[in-house]
Symmetry: C2
């Protein structure tokens, strides 16, 4: 049968016939295998171009060990984050003729494992990239290990040595940003934690704690609020920290959306930024430079991280030669804009 498409599908047999070789030789050329005379190879390549031959991925997948499919798993992510991630993954995929399949999953659902297994069972992806918080979903990791599928975790928290991962040094990034606040003269620095299911949240909090410690500033637990990375959670935290007499002079939020919430609530309360309150965020989302004053934040190379994750899988590098899971740690950078200034009453330092 020919499928109901406008154009007749051209197959490996057509190419083989066109240049008088066996399909095995065409296969060798398509897969870049050795042991083909340069002359023969060229002849095949010419026919491939002339006929616009594209190997059928289903046939390849069924006959061989590769599906040319890379999967990306995510759960309720920030739009800007997934978007950057996908760009990095797509770029790397295209280099090797791979395609990107995106699958939303609910980490908390009792049937995650089943959903993931069904997905792999049907699609046989050659590898999976897990984005936070899926990177830390034990049920998913277990299912993947059971199936023996290669995968890379992006910015995992717990159990970091369990599998290949790509990350930045979240702890140090938060540490460095806190240092900026301290260096500007702030000693009353509040902190908004990120979603507890994301591995990076804990790291960022540790960086904050460590920086305060190096200045011998005590942590005030009433200046630390539990956020969930959403703007709404940031609003709640902002009210908790700002709606009191002894409010901090600076707040460091674990991501930009929450930092933006702080800025909005501060404006409503009549606080001027940065004069009355300095604010710092994390992510450098597009909005960070769209607000006024522009938000100081930490930029992670998200697309590059995704590229590296895809590369680990496609280059079959997710395990080192000694069997240890690969680790790629990329550089972050501090983006200092206008939302940070010295505290108004330097006299209150102490």
């Amino acid at each position: 049968m020919t499928r109901e498409r406008g154009v007749a599908t051209i197959t490996i047999y057509d190419v083989a016939r066109a240049c008088g070789v066996s399909i095995k030789t065409v296969s060798r050329v398509m897969n870049g295998e050795p042991n083909v005379r340069p002359q023969t190879r060229q002849r095949v390549l010419d026919s491939v171009n002339a006929l616009s031959y594209r190997p059928n991925l289903s046939a390849r997948s069924l006959a061989g060990a590769r599906s040319y499919l890379l999967g990306m798993l995510f759960d309720n992510p920030s739009p800007a984050y997934v978007s950057d991630l996908q760009q990095g993954l797509s770029t790397r995929c295209r280099q090797d003729g791979y395609h990107l399949v995106v699958e939303p999953v609910d980490c908390e659902a009792p049937d995650v494992a089943e959903v993931v297994e069904a997905m792999i069972g049907a699609l046989k992806m050659d590898g999976l990239v897990l984005t936070p918080p899926v990177s830390d979903a034990a049920a998913v990791l277990d299912a993947l290990d059971r199936l023996g599928v290669a995968y890379v975790r992006i910015a995992p928290g717990a159990d970091p040595h369990r599998a290949a991962r790509v990350e930045i040094d979240d702890r140090r990034a938060a540490h460095d940003m806190t240092l900026q606040l301290l260096g500007s003269g702030h000693r009353h620095i509040g902190f908004i934690k990120g979603h507890p299911a994301h591995g990076a949240s804990q790291m960022r909090y540790q960086g904050y704690v460590q920086a305060l410690g190096s200045y011998e500033v005590k942590i005030r637990s009433d200046w630390v609020a539990q956020g969930y990375f959403s703007f709404e959670s940031g609003v709640a935290c902002a009210h908790a920290l700002l709606g009191r007499e002894d409010r901090p002079t600076a707040i460091f939020a674990s991501n930009d959306d929450m930092a933006l919430a702080i800025m909005m609530v501060a404006s409503r309360l009549g606080l001027k930024i940065p004069d009355d309150l300095s604010v710092a965020g994390f992510d450098d989302t597009p909005s960070a430079k769209m607000v006024w004053p522009a938000l100081s934040t930490v930029r992670q190379p998200i697309a590059d991280m995704a590229y590296a994750a895809a590369d680990l899988i496609l280059s079959r590098l997710s395990r080192e030669e000694d069997g240890a899971p690969a680790v790629r740690r990329l550089d972050f950078s501090l983006i200092l804009r206008d939302s940070i200034a010295a505290p108004r009453s330097l006299g209150s330092i102490g």
Copy 2:
């Protein structure tokens, strides 16, 4: 050969053997075909569950006429927009055991057609969803028509009857929002156009023009600026419209990112919103409610539009019975927040 996976793949033969029927019967059950005794069907289903059998999509695709793959094409979209789109598509895909493959394309590239053909040739997707500006990329549409692949255009502009489409009434939405501004007393209303390659841009401008016309307000071309949907382009337009003596008292931007740029530039120039300047946007992106004052804007049901697009393809409804391309027009809604107020000097109306 067994592929190098931790678990042996279980196939249609295993199920057939387990319940003593032929593989054809199992196939019938898996595809919901008629002509299977209820009792037999149940027996098969039980074995399927017991063995956790998942039909191999590659085999299905190779043997049959369907790949169970839906493709989504995009070109440099706004993150929030693709994110919503993907959610809608994924939801519909999962209902039918489909999977979503995302492919970035460069509409302007001379080899777009080739890229698209290669993609289809390799993956044989059962349908494609085109997002703006790909919805209006003639080279892509031509390639798809040539290959005979089903596709749905989201919010297309030119040549709207060429193929199935899903849209909102962009013209009327912009018209209604402009009416809000007029109703608040504004007569000096500026407009920032969207990217000319997006079909919706022209529609939104028409809505603005039409609303002004109904109030017999003349269009001032120096109050209309050409934007490109990016925050940066919005900044440039804002300077053009606000950096002059006779500036408008309200500005309607074709999307939120540009509206946000206007708000930022206005703040910098010392203009208070909404007292000195009213602002309206389009999209209701997350940022719209994160700014202060919160932005009035138009909300489109993006995820629902995507769901409808996927549904058109999976339900094989992209062509009506008479062969005409299907059209799904969804409802928008006006989200009125704090960025619009009556102009300060009502005396200047005229």
